[in-house]
Symmetry: C2
């Protein structure tokens, strides 16, 4: 099986490296790290033990890679406009696509371009970032929940989950991908949003005294939005929000990706994490007023910083 | 009549200078500007024409000033804990106190320390800032609306308004000081809050595309909170919010005081402009959810920046 990694940032590099180390044939589409990796290989600094891959199949264009059996998408969603062009050369008759991107709308975009039957989505619970070119740092977690875009559990989704597990990545196939996506939004919306807006990590947000309760209120709004989507079964607001906060209390000054994006002057993933979820909630008759305000505060700041 | 100015920042220096220029006996309690003003006088750079006062009665302590007939308070509200100590030496049997501070709670604090019968409040619509020591810049506006804390229109409030007008400061005495305070909050809460949070001036907030509607929503919440206070007559939400936005559309990149406070690393006037109005609204049975969220975002940021 030939795997292509598109969007080889911290997430793409880490999962690609894990899959290659397990013996799979992995091709990386690279920009920033191309030179460093072709000359010096890829160094993975991981909480589970560092490792080094001397030989990496690195490419600058998708045409050089050609058709793959599986394309794993790790692009930042603010680059989704380039996705069609970047991926078309990789797609053959049997190619499956797994997007590990954040938020909502990514599967739909891929389905529109390449057909819904190819598309799977995954939610990555990964703390990682890029070091100098040629280095990726795995700070914690790494679990993936993946599922079919247009179906429940399938042999294909089970097989992909097993492939990740064989590579040392905890992974489960889920029957309801939309529920899994919304569950992740329950964390992403408050923590990505508030951390980017206030420049505070999750520990500061939860211990500062003024934002902990706001985190909970935002979570409850997202859960109400989620439960209006006709999920396979509802998310329990009080229980699930409490679990998410307890889980985050145990993270030691973790900086969400959106905080890092803002600090490093990159665009924010506002469409996938805010705008599309807000649209879907409104379409289902649910308003999320605090989420909406947080979105507009972030988008307002975004506008000016450009 | 002997007037003492306590809290001689941009506001206190400007109004004190105008009153002295009109022939009144004005004493300034100074810190930062004491040296510059005692040696070089006070320079006022005003959109209405610059002027210079060579002789200023400048003092370092209230004891040196002694009892005054009128004390004008221009302290930032985050210094209110020092107010009693700063003012006690100035208060005699007949002394009146006029606070021109922002937000709610200032008259109550003065009333508690010095008796309600002395206290008047005023809302200053003034664009001013301090230049180098010895210089105050008047950028625009300057109008004051003042009224009694514990009564409607009185000969005293009318006389004070006339005193300001005689000094070239547009001023009217109002019968309902609380209504005037809440009306000002309709502007202060969205514009001070959002400008400090996002680092954007009023023009950026109104033209950025994401925050203009949020300004209006915040205004409508404040108006609902105001109208629950049993004011002499209600504020019309749609009309008054539209007037405030139209007025602000005409300001050219004006930076609200709270934005400047944050940029210069000072504390923010969160109690007077947010916490106390939120308490009063809740006490009257009205929630202001967006105002509450904005407050917690500002307070959350405040906590960390200290």
């Amino acid at each position: 099986m030939r795997i292509a990694i598109v969007g080889a940032g911290a997430l793409g590099l880490y999962y690609g490296a894990m899959l290659q180390r397990s013996g799979l044939d992995v091709c990386f589409l690279l920009r920033r790290d191309y030179q460093a990796i072709t000359t010096g290989g890829l160094q993975v600094r991981s909480v589970n033990g560092d490792f080094y891959l001397a030989q990496i199949k690195a490419f600058r264009t998708p045409q050089e890679i050609g058709v793959a059996d599986l394309v794993i998408v790790g692009l930042k969603t603010f680059s989704n406009a380039q996705m069609g062009e970047l991926m078309r050369p990789l797609i053959g008759k049997e190619t499956a696509i797994l997007t590990l991107q954040n938020g909502l709308g990514n599967e739909e975009l891929l389905a529109e371009s390449f057909g819904p039957e190819r598309v799977l989505g995954g939610i990555a619970f990964l703390c990682s970032n890029r070091g100098e070119p040629g280095v990726v740092c795995h700070l914690g977690e790494g679990r993936i929940r993946l599922g079919e875009f247009g179906a429940g559990l399938t042999p294909r989704s089970e097989k992909l989950a097993a492939m990740f597990r064989d590579a040392g990545v905890p992974c489960e196939a889920v029957a309801d991908l939309r529920r899994a996506r919304w569950e992740k939004l329950v964390w992403n919306i408050p923590f990505n949003g508030l951390s980017a807006l206030l420049g505070q990590d999750v520990t500061e947000l939860l211990t500062g005294g003024h934002t902990r309760e706001l985190v909970r209120e935002l979570m409850l709004e997202v859960i109400a939005g989620a439960n209006a989507q006709g999920l396979s079964n509802e998310i329990d607001g009080p229980i699930f929000s409490k679990q998410m906060i307890t889980l985050t209390d145990q993270m030691d000054h973790y900086r969400p990706s959106m905080q890092i994006d803002r600090e490093e002057g990159r665009p924010l993933e506002l469409d996938a994490i805010f705008a599309i979820p807000l649209q879907r909630a409104v379409a289902a008759g649910v308003t999320m007023p605090r989420v909406d305000m947080l979105y507009r505060l972030l988008a307002g700041g975004e506008k000016i910083s450009c």
